[in-house]
């Protein structure tokens, strides 16, 4: 077994990991649809999205590893994308809790993809102006992918909400289940303040208005109403996760822990 790595968490590293881990964990969840989507064509479409997310994760984790290394004082090289993806303890992941929730049914997946896809697209859009040139370049490539992810999910949500009684019932159920995880997407804290101050990227809280406007346009077309904001606050971005992440990581990390550096 390979022991976990421990990171020197600076605000910059945490900021990057929040986005990278949200992409990583959502990508892994979407990968669970491979072979299980309602139709073959959508199976390919969903796994395309999953692979795009993993690609974005790779670039972000590589950059996060370089920045982490600068402040670490370690004499060895920076942690690479694989070490960061597979050798951290659960508490060192910084993804939004919403990304780690179990796969659910197709309506749940579509709604989550829209909600998180819009959030990610807005990030990539703003990150193109990052003071970190590497991050700006990653964002320039990712924003094109993210636009399609959002569009694909939005079209499906309208179809399902406007489809049969059963598809609408499932959309409404997904909405009720997911909505309490939305406030975390726009929480404000010192890590975001530091990112804004250094020009690394936007504060999540500053994206709320744009996100609400884009979601409202889709919900209007789908004749859906956003539920009232819940008092509950999920805490994945602080490293405190739901019971679902540990189980997922066990499966995800098994190979690299048992066969360190294994490749094929």
């Amino acid at each position: 077994m390979t022991a976990s790595i421990s990171l020197n968490f600076t605000p910059q590293v945490e900021y990057l990991l929040r986005i990278a881990d949200t992409c990583l964990i959502l990508g892994q969840r979407l990968g669970e649809w491979c072979g299980h989507a309602p139709v073959l064509e959508e199976d390919i479409a969903l796994t395309n999205v999953a692979l795009d997310l993993i690609g974005q994760t790779r670039a972000l984790l590589t950059r996060a590893g370089q920045i982490e290394h600068q402040g670490s004082g370690r004499s060895d090289g920076p942690y690479d994308e694989d070490q960061l993806a597979f050798l951290r303890d659960e508490r060192d992941y910084r993804n939004l809790t919403m990304a780690e929730l179990p796969r659910g049914d197709f309506a749940f997946t579509v709604l989550r993809n829209l909600v998180l896809g819009t959030w990610l697209k807005l990030h990539w859009d703003r990150l193109q102006q990052s003071s970190d040139a590497e991050l700006a370049a990653i964002a320039g490539k990712a924003v094109k992918e993210a636009r399609y992810h959002q569009q694909h999910a939005a079209d499906w949500l309208v179809r399902l909400a406007d489809g049969t009684d059963e598809s609408r019932r499932r959309v409404e159920k997904a909405l009720a289940e997911l909505w309490r995880f939305v406030p975390e997407m726009f929480a404000a804290d010192a890590i975001d303040d530091a990112a804004v101050a250094s020009g690394l990227g936007p504060a999540r809280s500053a994206l709320r208005e744009a996100w609400q406007a884009e979601i409202a346009a889709v919900f209007d077309a789908a004749r859906l109403a956003a539920p009232a904001e819940a008092a509950f606050r999920s805490t994945g971005t602080l490293g405190v996760h739901s019971e679902h992440l540990g189980r997922m990581l066990a499966e995800m990390q098994f190979l690299q822990r048992s066969f360190p550096g294994g490749a094929w």
Binding site: V39, E41, E42, I44, A45, N48, Q151, H152, D155, R159
Partner: protein, 97 residues
């Protein structure tokens, strides 16, 4: 109660590999509406950079020749070599034509 068709319609997919070339037929897929057909065509047929533009056409909108007419339609052309433009002497400046 009207009958609901549970099977999505079939669409033929045409992909243009690069600007200036024509769209070529590359396969088919099932989709519920035109927009979905375009998106799924993109996802199924252009994931390895195969294209820069896609067309989709409802398969039931394509009028095809009847395989039973094959003999009548196509076989008579077999022995009419004079329809090939191969009986002209090309000036050498034209070279490869």
């Amino acid at each position: 109660m009207s009958e609901v068709n549970l099977e999505w319609p079939l669409w033929e997919v045409f992909v243009r590999t690069k600007a200036g070339l024509d769209h070529k037929h590359c396969g088919s897929l099932h989709a519920a509406d035109p927009k979905m057909a375009i998106q799924l065509a993109r996802d199924v047929y252009t994931r390895r950079q195969e294209g820069c533009s896609v067309w989709v056409v409802r398969s039931d909108q394509i009028v095809a020749s009847d395989p039973g007419d094959k003999a009548m339609y196509f076989d008579p052309m077999e022995d009419k070599v004079y329809r090939h433009p191969s009986f002209y002497k090309l000036p050498s400046e034209v070279d490869h034509m």
